[in-house]
Amino acid sequence: MGLIGSYNLRSMIVRKGTAAMTAGGIAMVVAVFVMTMAIAQGFRGALVASGSNDNAILLRKGATSETVSGVLRSQLPLIEAMPHVARTADGQPLASPELVVIISLPRKSDGNPANVPVRGVGPRAYQVRNTLKMVEGRQFAPGSREINVGRQAVNRFGGLTMGSELKFGAATWTVVGIFTADDASFESEVWGDVDLMQPAFQRNGYQSVTVKLADPSAFESFESAVVADPRLDLKPSRERDYYEGQSSTTGTLIRIFATFVTSILSIGAVFGAMNTMYAAVAYRTREIGTLRALGFSRLRIISAFLAESVALALVGGVIGCILALPVNGLSTGAMNMTSFSELAFKFRVTPGLLAGGMIFSAFMGALGGLLPALRAARIPVARALREI
């Protein structure tokens, strides 16, 4: 492999213009692949990060999302009394009854109204969701018309900065704190006291209850206890599973789009690589003949040309990944079809995604190089040597 490897590498450098163009084509495909997949990753990541494995969310039986669920006020104490629910040091149950409604706020970027979720939460919500951290101000005081706002929401929508007053649900609310939540979907939300949100939005009862489990591994026994209680027509799910499910509609749509675009685009790039490799083989017919005459086997010739094509594609892959890197962390928004509200999230270029891009580029190189390599191996030695 030593001689033949360096021979192919050096030939690539000799024909640097052509090599650069082929790699450039593959780089664009890999860049598009990584960028579109980064959107899907980011969207899913924002929702999955919302769910913790230690928590369980209870929805009405048959409800697929909070919007269409309902939990009666009388059911909350029954849930709180269950032994599976974790407690604070002074014995208070770690359960948060919640209600999500959507209000319309102007988007900062274009001034158009966007659907922003307002979540009414229980007084111990910040202990149930312990990834939330206040970065400015303080938590809202239960019983007052104060609200906390996620950092993404502050950046994306107008009128949510510290101290500003917001009118919705026939009342005025004051922003007293801004929180982060490890990029979770909560960062696109507005949080306030659920007991004040209910009358403001003319709702009776809650939509869901999220509890912290005393023992996360005992989820199954919690589930059977809830199902066994005839007063609760509710179904618990692990919070992480629930949020993962919430991402599927929009997430799948983005993924289908990304796959459709990159697969068509990659065929074009493979054709380009094929052209280059066919030309490479044609130029070097005589050299290939010499190599064969020296005793290099057909298999060696095939693998050498395949390796050249893959190496070329990998260079493209690296360039493509580098081109796609700057979008990492860029924040954008898209409608979550299941909650009908806008979810802000960041493009996520993960190491796994970059590895996927590299494998994809190697695959394109192999595909583009295969036929030309076979052709190189099939050249009859005598004729090849005769060629000028």
Binding site: G17, T18, M21, T22, G24, G25, M28, V29, A31, V32, M35, T36, I39, R60, T64, T67, V68, S69, G70, V101, I102, I103, S104, R107, D110, N112, P113, A114, N115, F168, G169, A170, F201, V261, I264, L265, I267, G268, A269, F271, G272, M274, N275, T276, Y278, A279, T332, G333, A334, M335, M337, F340, E342, I388
Partner: protein
């Protein structure tokens, strides 16, 4: 013109390479036209919206409802010709994955408001007379195989409408007269849903026809002012503004699809440029001979550009026609719900062809310059 044969000859010189290049340009144009068609689908909705219709929703958010008493107030606003109302039902047909719009409407006034809902007179009458009747768009009917007279069961998805299943009889299959109407929706009697709703007498949005499109904004403001400081404040917008806002909720489509389209063009430029460079390099000696024979540098230049142009246009025609044949609303069935109907139209085809012409010329500029600046002596001395 006399050089056309020469150019065609060079195109045919390496058939495999030409085919591969033509195909990669074809794929790019295919993709580009499809992307344009999606964007056009969104634009068409707002372009087809009527200038005389305004939509009134609750100012907090359109997910909240208003009382039916708003109708009288809106109707008596000066400049208002007609009012109708609708609710989003959000029910589930068999499986939550079968997502399509279901609207509870007031049949008589709704069909009057939307003449774009094309329905035969008998069907219209049958729908209006049957309290549990419904009409479905032809796109939806095709997707689920609905026929006139079919009974369908929808499970309510929003607690307001109770928990009991709703039975409907299909009384009509409508066609969409313009992009303002979606042919993947279902409409039924508002009264049927209202009977089982708690609270009752709630309306999701009002649609109002105004007499003078130039005064639409003023009338919209007048409607909102009548409800300001009430428990149910409203926000009224022209239908066009309303659908544009709706599209913008899906995310920044223009930017996303635009950057993908740019990448498509760049990839193809690389591939086509590469081919042209290779083909020129192969013919170095030939070109030198032509120059010796007296062909001018400018002629050589245009010969190479012409070759690139022909190859790219060939790909463009294939790609654009393929897109026209494959990407249309009937064959895809992707539309429905929040994604409007889309399909590649003649304008997309033209843009695709223009793009391929651009790719052909741009990709061959550098190789053509190389060819025309060739030093004859060096080129002749070189052994390929």
């Amino acid at each position: 013109m006399k050089f056309v044969n020469l150019v065609l000859k060079s195109v045919r010189r390496n058939k495999r390479r030409t085919t591969l290049t033509v195909l990669s340009v074809a794929l790019a144009v295919f993709l580009f036209s499809a992307l344009r068609a999606v964007l056009d689908g969104f634009d068409a909705v707002s372009a087809a919206s009527s200038a005389t219709r305004v939509v009134t929703v609750r100012s907090t958010s359109m997910i909240f409802s208003m009382p039916t008493s708003h109708e009288q107030t809106i109707r008596s606003t000066p400049g208002v010709e007609d009012v109708t109302w609708a609710n989003w039902f959000g029910g589930i047909y068999k499986d939550p994955k079968n997502f399509f719009g279901q609207f509870a409407v007031d049949p008589v006034s709704y069909l009057r408001m939307y003449p774009e809902i094309l329905l035969s007179e008998e069907d219209k009458k049958a729908f209006i007379e049957d309290r549990t009747g419904c009409i479905v768009g032809d796109g939806l009917a095709k997707k689920y195989g609905f026929k006139l007279g079919d009974k369908i069961t929808i499970q309510p998805g929003i607690p307001v409408y109770g928990s009991q299943d709703y039975e409907f009889t299909i009384r009509g299959i409508y066609r969409a007269g313009s992009s303002a109407v979606d042919n993947q929706s279902m409409m039924f009697h508002w009264k049927y849903a209202d009977e089982r709703s708690t609270p009752k007498a709630q309306v999701g949005w009002y649609v109002t026809r105004v007499s003078d499109p130039d005064r639409a904004a003023k009338i919209a403001l007048a409607i909102d002012q009548q409800f300001s400081n009430s428990a149910y404040e409203t926000k009224t917008d022209t239908e066009q503004a309303f659908s544009a806002q709706f599209a913008s909720m899906l995310g920044n489509l223009n930017l996303l699809l635009g950057s993908v389209a740019l990448a498509v063009v760049l990839t193809t430029l690389f591939v086509a440029g590469n081919t042209m460079a290779m083909s020129v390099r192969e013919r170095t000696t030939e070109i030198a001979v032509m120059r010796t024979l007296g062909f001018r540098a400018a002629t050589i230049f245009s010969l190479v550009v012409g070759e690139g142009f022909i190859v790219a246009i060939g790909g463009g025609v294939i790609g654009a026609l393929l897109a026209r044949a494959i990407v249309n609303a009937e064959s895809l069935g992707l539309a429905g719900g929040f994604i409007p109907m889309f399909g590649v139209n003649n304008r997309n085809v033209l843009v695709g062809l223009g793009l391929s012409a651009f790719i052909g010329v741009a990709a061959s500029l550098i190789p053509a310059t190389m060819a025309s600046r060739l030093k004859i002596v060096d080129a002749l001395r070189r052994v390929a």
